[in-house]
Symmetry: C2
DNA sequence: AAGCGCATGTAAAAGGTTACATGATTAC
DNA sequence: GTAATCATGTAACCTTTTACATGCGCTT
């Protein structure tokens, strides 16, 4: 085992489970999701790939193309798929924030449906708890409240509501729709924003 | 000048502008907002307070109480208020995530009405941009899409929608209501952009 | 041949957490 | 007297960013 950084290593492994990529590809993909989960620099990405390679969870091959510099393409191995499934099965941290949730959602959503439902239900319980926390803050104040703090809590409650609505929507879909039509289903769910 | 850690130092200064507190108080307050902005450990809080003290932005006095161990209460100074106003005036990072936004929202919302509106409008523009990014990802895919990735993007769009709705609601309220004294700064009138 | 976009990599510095040390006060 | 809570602080460790180094291949 090389460096630790477990969650990012497995997140990366999840991306590679979908399709082989280079470090540069991963960087670009994360750049587009920067708002959601941040986009770690090469100083994180490359060492993570090296660690996965050392652990035998991925293989690497150099792809020389005619018109561009060569790239190192990483592909997941059978051992990698196995390790990913095991990791996905583990319960998430109880205090996971939005970023941590999404970073698990991607590999979990890609692999196992039963695991996905559990994952979303756990998230739902956590958001409910945090919502209660925020509401308790407000009732504890009740007067002489700082404006900035009030706005911040109000904002948090708005996000919590939106998250709960989204989670319920997805959970209902997952529990009522037959698995076979999953791809079509999710395409329908995405358009309504 | 002591350690860097600028954003957390000013965030702390903003809390002290609202009311004098000890490091322990700050920790407890942040614990309740953990979901929103995370709760840094004492290894961050105490050095930040020491740095503020060294820079003359706060003063410290030991409060010995009869029934509990003594605490070090930090209060903002005039120089501190000045520095805070200058910091609040600076534009936020263009790629600020939710946490960074909230950490600025608290001091900004506490100090200046005009600055608050600008801050929220900037956030609004950023969220719109990120929303467009996420929508572009979807249109770029269109085929053989990974389930987890689709869920993540869908989730991001739901949060973006909620944020925009919240921002619009607050901005409308701020621009239409004749403003209450609460928002106007405690002692001094400030001119801001 | 200079500059740019692609692509990989690393070292130094900054940022943050964990674990520990210290000690006062209350409750059992 | 010993455990628990309050309260402050530091050092070792881990993670992440920043800044740099390297080099291919295309365009001007």
């Amino acid at each position: 085992m090389a460096t630790s950084n477990e969650s990012f290593r497995y997140f990366t492994l999840g991306l590679l489970a979908h399709q082989p990529m280079s470090g540069y590809d991963i960087r670009r993909f994360l750049k587009s999701l920067e708002w959601l989960i941040g986009s770690p620099s090469f100083g994180v990405i490359y060492p993570a790939l090296h660690a996965l390679l050392e652990d035998g969870l991925v293989t690497m091959e150099v792809a020389s193309r005619p018109d561009k510099p060569p790239r190192k393409i990483y592909s997941i191995t059978e051992a990698g798929k196995q390790a990913l499934l095991e990791w996905v099965d583990q319960p998430p941290a109880s205090n996971a924030n939005l970023k941590a949730f999404i970073m698990r959602l991607i590999p979990v959503g890609s692999s196992a449906h039963a695991g996905l439902i559990v994952h979303l239900q756990q998230r739902r319980a956590q958001v409910l708890a945090h919502q209660a926390d925020l509401e308790r803050i407000i009732t504890d104040w009740a007067e002489g409240v700082d404006w900035g703090q009030r706005l911040a809590v109000d904002y948090g409650l708005a996000v919590a509501s939106a998250e709960l609505a989204w989670l319920d929507k997805v959970l209902v879909r997952l529990s009522t729709e037959p698995w076979a039509e999953e791809v079509i289903e999710i395409e329908r769910s995405v358009d309504m924003v």
